[in-house]
Symmetry: C2
Subunit: 532 residues, 2 copies
């Protein structure tokens, strides 16, 4: 990074803007961009050069584009601001789609910059030419190709405006390399008018208050900002006063937990259990979330987990659900004293690890203000259940089901919050999709603690095969759902990317490994948790 | 794999077809499918189960979808037959797009099967729902969602028919999980009528013959089947008789080389050199290839490497270019004696490795009928130049520029040709995109020899930055183009996936490493080549 005074540099660059690439970065910087997760190629070289002449945007290299887009998701969830990604043409963008799919479901603001062939070269269908818009549309709220140097500034600001419009979305700008290179006049299009979440609607709050006051059986389902500390505090008070029950979405983008907050656990994954938890009471109230549907369709089970006639909306996904909950607490006359789970430590027996024990050991070890990126069901559910009594922490989950998201999200969260400790509780199968994350963590010296659940199988798939009626797996089904023969050597893989690592098979070993990891502050640390 | 008699099993399954998944696999098997490169999820479980009840299709698990699609590309290039891929919904497909982009440019036949939500569940926009068609269209000649159990057989056969139609393309079938599960009646839609390449057009051959007989200066550019042994032999004879010059496409899907074939090297990558080689003579003749265009557009250089008025077509990409060359040799009265480069070994000094020496040492070491997957320019160009005098081998290159293709293509070629030795000459940066290939090679015990060019930078990007006028790189540009701090430990990474590996820094070390690798026949072997 440059150490010169940014303000001075900014002025000097602005006076002497010579390239479209510099103009885009100046506009992005003005709109709030501070980080660019990049995997550039030939058609992005002017932007790469401009990252050194326009100050204030930190470039972070990923060895694979899915690392970049997942990191942008983690960064955006923690800061509320879009990171840039810098990707190479259609195929480079394509490698980032899976984690953009997750970011779209998380409603994370991101601005992708995709370099393209020179505008006059596209027509010749050179080998790397492809239909970038068709690839980008399924994950982007806005896709635009910059059509002239005169559009660079306004298109960049429009991309930020679209990404930041509540509840947040992804913008994709395709930037031909000739416009990156050419002189581009600055026009000062002005900063994007950032629309934060809209105010809640009083009539909706009153309607829900009426149900509660009438003694109806009410279940709340919370997402988005309703899972902030403020939202959960209000929820706890409403619950204590009215008996209403509260759940988080099954896969929240971000939820605060522990530190004496109320225990608002996730709605279960499988539809039978979710339907059971949502119950047969009078009303299910949505707060910054959408109608709950089954993750997958199963014969004989409904797609909708709740009869739509039972649904009410307190705040939609673009509205302030936390403020709506506070107003609701007021309307129902909830007690103003705080309601929450006392902080406590679990007594841990000395024995082999199992998922429930992993959840408890990790809960015990969390320092205050930790961030935990959770991917994978084996240890993920037990940990979240256990961590209600831990120190205050933030949990980030896999919102869209495209696996390979937990490590990059942890990486992005660590860039966003250098003062907080970041953990990645991560299944082994899904870790492999974006294993290259380890190298960027090592290079950027990010103190992320990775806990890899090494059960050497795709556990969820074996469960699903059994649900589908396969009592015994044939040899090919077994081979397609087991990660053995050979098993991964996680210590060797970590070492290959410059990450220190240890293996833990027992509760005491895991406690010791976490203690070691927490004094290691100069970079990432990996713990392979061998489950019985 | 089942060891029961396939013929008997096939009959018994056909009589008792109970699921749509089984019906699809029977139809695919009848159309010639023998391998399925799979990374399945919940919506593909009936197909996973069916792989054990329908015999004859070998399932190969990839830890990441780009491994599967790249392997299908390598398999298809070597066999001419489509492999199946089995991918999980839109995000799983998306992870495979980059290597499908390369396969599309290689005109490799592939049939992708993408599981989807139950047909009645899609409307609820569950987390993993996305627009699969929008993602698939840019790389697929045919995209179709199976709309009923009655369509399974005909849609599967249509997918094979489309994929196999000359010159070859990719078909993508979206298969809702309920139709996979349900009983599906067999209709025997018949085998696809496979259209191989069309015959050449005599008038075109006569027109080119006239030019040659008139003493015009002629350069030939060969691709596709024109790079077969037959095509190259005819080219050699034409060249010897007429003085015409011959080049291969810069990135051929497959070319035969060595073993006393004529030396038909690749057209250079950078446009200045390519234009120089294509010269200013009278005619450039295309044989199973398209008009050569610059890989990237550069200011002041043309996109077309040849004035279109100089172009003639001997055979288009769907026609038999090798037969056309033979006919042309006949028309110009070429001598029938074989023309080729004598086989010889390079004298290798004992010294540090450089790219030219790597090419020569590898050429010396190639056993007869080797297959070499080449990705990365640093060692790729010098090797191909050197290998004209090696034993007969097949070269597979990165056809579409989406990097991360060399290792999966080698994997697929090894599955296709168990009797041949497969090498992957691979740059370090691009190897990282699909590093998970190593595990599948180890699991399937494929004797692939990987030679990783460890220069710890994106060499091509530093070259392009210099071309774009950056004499000195700033700190961020340097960080985005160098792969250091930390350097990868290739031996540790290989070990993490169960692959033995050694490091070589000198010519003698590389020779010794290759000798070790060649006696190792029970699985893959990795050589990190440390370049000065």
């Amino acid at each position: 990074m440059e150490t010169a005074n940014p303000a001075v540099l900014e002025t000097s660059v602005a006076d002497a803007v010579t390239t479209g690439a510099e103009l885009m970065l100046l506009a992005a910087r003005a709109a709030g961009a501070e980080v660019c997760f990049a995997n550039p190629g030939t058609t992005e070289m002017p932007l790469v050069a401009a990252l050194d002449t326009v100050p204030g945007i930190r470039a972070v290299l990923g060895l694979f584009e899915g690392v970049c887009t997942g990191a942008a998701d983690g960064y955006g969830r923690m800061t509320g601001k879009p990171a840039l990604t810098l990707l190479h043409l259609g195929p480079g963008f394509a490698n980032g789609i899976a984690n953009l799919h997750n970011a779209r479901r998380a409603r994370t603001p991101i601005v992708n910059i995709v370099g393209d062939h020179a505008s006059w070269h596209v027509q010749y269908d050179a080998p790397l030419t492809s239909d970038i818009h068709s690839l980008a549309r399924p994950v982007s709220g806005m896709v635009r190709t910059i059509e002239s140097t005169g559009d660079i500034e306004s298109d960049t600001l429009a991309a930020f405006q679209s990404a930041l419009r509540a509840p947040g979305s992804i913008s994709t700008l395709v930037f031909p390399v000739d416009y990156q290179q050419h002189h581009a006049p600055r026009r000062d299009g002005g900063l994007p008018s950032v629309q934060s979440r809209r105010s809640f609607q009083e009539t909706r709050v009153e309607a829900v208050a009426q149900k509660l006051k009438a003694g109806k059986s009410v279940v709340f389902l919370l997402g988005g900002g309703a899972l902030s500390e403020r939202g959960q505090r209000a929820a706890g008070r409403i619950g204590a006063s009215t008996g209403a029950r509260f759940f988080s979405e099954t896969f929240p983008a971000r939820t605060e937990r522990g530190g004496r907050l109320p225990d608002i656990d996730r709605l279960p994954y499988f539809p039978e259990k979710a339907i059971e938890q949502l119950g047969t009471g009078d009303v299910v109230v949505l707060v910054e979330t959408i109608t709950p549907v089954a993750y997958f369709g199963y014969e004989g089970l409904p797609s909708l987990l709740v009869d739509e006639r039972r649904l009410m909306t307190l705040a939609d996904v673009a509205e302030c659900g936390d403020a709506a909950l506070e107003r609701l607490a007021e309307l129902v006359g909830a007690d103003t004293s705080e309601v929450g789970v006392p902080m406590s430590r679990y007594a841990i027996p000395e024995c082999a690890l199992d998922p429930a024990l992993v959840g408890k050991v990790l809960s015990n070890a969390l320092p205050d203000e930790a961030i935990v990126s959770v991917e994978g069901g084996t240890c993920g559910y037990p940990f979240v259940t256990a961590s209600a009594s831990a120190a205050r922490h933030t949990i980030l989950t896999n919102t869209g089901g495209a696996i390979g998201q937990g490590l990059p999200v942890a990486l992005g969260a660590a860039i966003a919050c250098p003062e907080r400790r970041v953990f990645a509780l991560q299944s082994d199968g899904s870790a492999q999709y974006t294993i290259q994350s380890l190298w960027t963590m090592a290079r950027e010296r990010l103190p992320v603690v990775m806990l890899i659940t090494s059960n050497r199988r795709y556990g969820i798939l074996q469960t699903e095969l059994r649900r589908a009626g396969s009592a015994e797996f044939g040899p090919q089904a077994r081979a397609l759902t087991e990660l053995d023969n050979p098993a991964f050597d996680w210590l060797a893989l970590a070492s290959g990317y410059g990450v220190p690592a240890v293996r833990a098979s027992t509760t005491r070993e895991l406690e010791a490994a976490l203690a070691t990891a927490l004094v290691h502050t100069s970079g990432p640390f990996l713990i392979e948790m061998v489950l019985a």
